[in-house]
Amino acid sequence: MEAIILQILNGLDKGSAYALIALGLTLIFGTLGVVNFAHGALFMIGAFCAVTLSRILTASRTVIDETKTDFLGNPLKVDVPHVYDWFGEAAGATIIDWAVPLSILFAIPVMMLIGLIMERGLIKHFYSRPHADQILVTFGLAIVLQEIIKYFYGANPIPTPAPDAFRGSFDFGAALGFDPNVIIYPYWRLVYFAFAAVIIGAVFAFLQFTTFGMVVRAGMADRETVGLLGIDIDKRFTLMFGLAAAVAGLAGVMYAPINSPNYHMGMDFLVLSFVVVVVGGMGSLPGAVAAGFLLGILESFASMGAVLEVLPGINQIIIYLVAIIILLTRPRGLMGRKGVMEE
């Protein structure tokens, strides 16, 4: 029992990331009909937004502290972040500590902007081209984006810690009445899950309850009719691309403390996210979310010792295996609409 709960919990954070990326992917596909291989790069750029902001916040001037000396006896040089000067030392330290959550505010406009530039500058020209061309050009874009990041930030992972308040773990087992220290779970992962749930809820609410969202949903179902009603659906779809980019970016920002950002993390997640989208059904938003969590949890179950004893190596391939089985038995994925992507 404890083991099962632990595995479900372990699956949640990865599942949350899959679900968020897949949600954006399928949103872009459903609205614009574009298969975006650069979506993983957006996730990666989001993570680097967190890196960037924490670098900005820790930007320092060097002062010489006469009261202390270093091991050679020279006066000690101390870096004082500029934020200390502006907000005082205590407040400044807190701001630096909270760099990752603060990056959310920083990332939203940045990611929206990147998304809009991508759509207007490149993807717009590919609506009428075959899906293979869309895959290829966004694949090329993904390479370019990750190389740019690599140029500026280097090839090594950059540790980006969560705020002190969320370090350490929560003893789930004790809270549920099991033995202590059996089910422990890092706080930040709980935060990530809650954050993902809020974002997913917000996207659905936005599509469900706002006029804008209703028009977009109508356009997803029948673009031409909505166009005939005199609504400029293209403009809204462009904004949806920005939104999808922001969702991917936020998923990346919050993931930075879980996995130190590196330039190829986007590609690593992209491959799995595509599998998630296809399993959920191309163009189905609930399908993407459900499949994201499902596959995340399945993956963590497959890495249990007991399972590995029976089926060695299953943890490595479970997602792909499930994808193959679902694609062959339910060609449209779990919740896909008929006739999507089947020329």
């Binding site: 090329g140 390479i143 994808a323 193959i324």
Partner: protein, 401 residues
């Protein structure tokens, strides 16, 4: 001749001549000149040119003709590599059986993967092939370690049985050979400041490439090739003409899988090692890049694409800041630094950035790849000539094209 029409025969002959003279063509600069680093005529790189050329030619038979975009072809290359290395461990270091077995195994594996994946088309097909390849990669790294050597990969060892070769003399290491002629033996020709290397392994690979290229031409020009293009063009009409598209696409898939296996076997013949990283999905992505870059659906395109990418990977990537400073030393200091700052991100370790940009440019502006680019330039020149001849018509008559 050879069952080809004149145009195709000419193309084959040009490729053959280029392949034979590659040690000269790729080493145009004297050894001690500053430009020597652009020389690509060393055995290791020349081998890569032709081997990845084979890989791309095969991929093009699937993608270029049928339009099915596979994102998992590296798996077949990997299977071919493992098959070849096992042959070297168990039977003989002679590369012929190794290469034959790698083609066979890759063919069988692609038959299974293709049979399942081809039940779907479009992006679903791409994802299915990707899933199979990633599974193969993960399994090769973990559970299948007894067969694949896991992280360390496989190399021939002195203790291997090698039934046909017998035990090695004391202190000898196992070397890949073809009937006794070692693959890595070379003949160096020094002419003035120039060094030209003729390597056995390269010529074996080049012969394999020419044979592959020849077969590809025959397939393109055959009724089977026409059928494959028909599959790409309109599957509905295909079905309502009484044709089942699946056997055609499956045949193309297996053929391209066998090409990948051949490439894998040849890689092992050259460097006598096999590892799982050859199956990673980026390796599958690379062959997609090669084919599109050169020109999908054209005969020569994939070879050009493979050459360009391997050249960038091996030559462009080696240029560092010092070399740039040497080049631009004649400029005033400020300008020199400025230019180097601009250029530096695109070369050396940043060569992938250049590759990505070129690739995007090709997809956006030149869907027919470098081959289409070449044709456009040729047309531009011919157009100019035609215009000139138009204006000359009053004075002289030019023969029609």
């Amino acid at each position: 001749m050879l069952g080809l029409n004149k145009k195709d025969l000419k193309l084959l002959l040009i490729v053959a001549v280029l392949a034979i003279l590659a040690p000269f063509i790729l080493n145009p600069f004297p050894e001690d000149s500053a430009m020597a680093q652009f020389n690509a005529g060393y055995p290791d790189l020349m081998q890569r040119f032709v081997i990845f050329g084979i890989f791309a030619i095969g991929f093009n038979i699937l993608f270029g003709l049928t339009g099915y975009l596979s994102f998992g072809h590296a798996a077949f290359l990997g299977v071919g590599s493992y098959a070849a290395i096992w042959m070297m461990k168990l039977l003989t270091m002679n590369v012929i059986p190794a290469i034959m077995l790698s083609v066979l195994f890759a063919g069988l594996f692609s038959l299974i993967v293709g049979w399942i994946s081809l039940r779907r088309s479009g992006i679903y097909f791409a994802i299915l092939t990707l899933a199979f390849a990633q599974m193969s990669y993960s399994l090769a790294y973990s559970v299948l370690t007894p067969i694949t050597g896991g992280e360390t990969g496989l190399q021939p060892k002195v203790t291997d049985p090698r039934i046909l070769d017998g035990t090695l003399p004391q202190g000898e290491t196992a070397r890949a050979n073809i009937f006794g002629l070692e693959m890595n033996s070379s003949y160096d020709l020094i002419v003035g400041g120039w060094l030209f290397t003729f390597n056995v392994g390269y010529y074996i690979a080049a012969i394999a490439m020419l044979a592959s290229f020849y077969v590809a031409i025959r397939i393109f020009r055959s009724p089977f090739g026409t059928m494959l293009r028909a599959v790409k063009s309109n599957q509905t009409r295909m079905y309502y003409t009484g044709l089942n598209a699946k056997p055609y696409t499956l045949a193309a898939f297996v053929i391209s899988g066998m090409y990948a296996g051949l490439a894998g076997g040849l890689l092992v013949a050259m460097d006598t090692q096999a590892g799982a990283e050859r199956m990673f999905w980026t390796a599958s992505g690379e062959v997609v890049l090669m084919t599109i870059l050169g020109g999908a659906g054209t005969l020569i395109g994939p070879v050009l694409g493979a050459g360009l990418i391997k050249y960038m990977e091996n030559i462009l990537s080696k240029i560092n800041k010092d070399i740039l400073h040497q080049w631009f030393a004649f400029l005033p200091d400020g300008l020199e630094d400025f230019i180097i700052t601009i250029v530096y991100p695109f070369i050396g370790k940043g060569w992938h950035l250049t590759l990505g940009l070129i690739f995007m440019g090709v997809v956006i502006f030149l869907p027919g790849g470098l081959v289409e680019g070449g044709q456009r330039i040729a047309r531009l020149f011919r157009g100019k000539k035609a215009k000139e001849s138009d204006s000359d018509k009053s004075t002289q008559s030019t023969p029609a094209e």
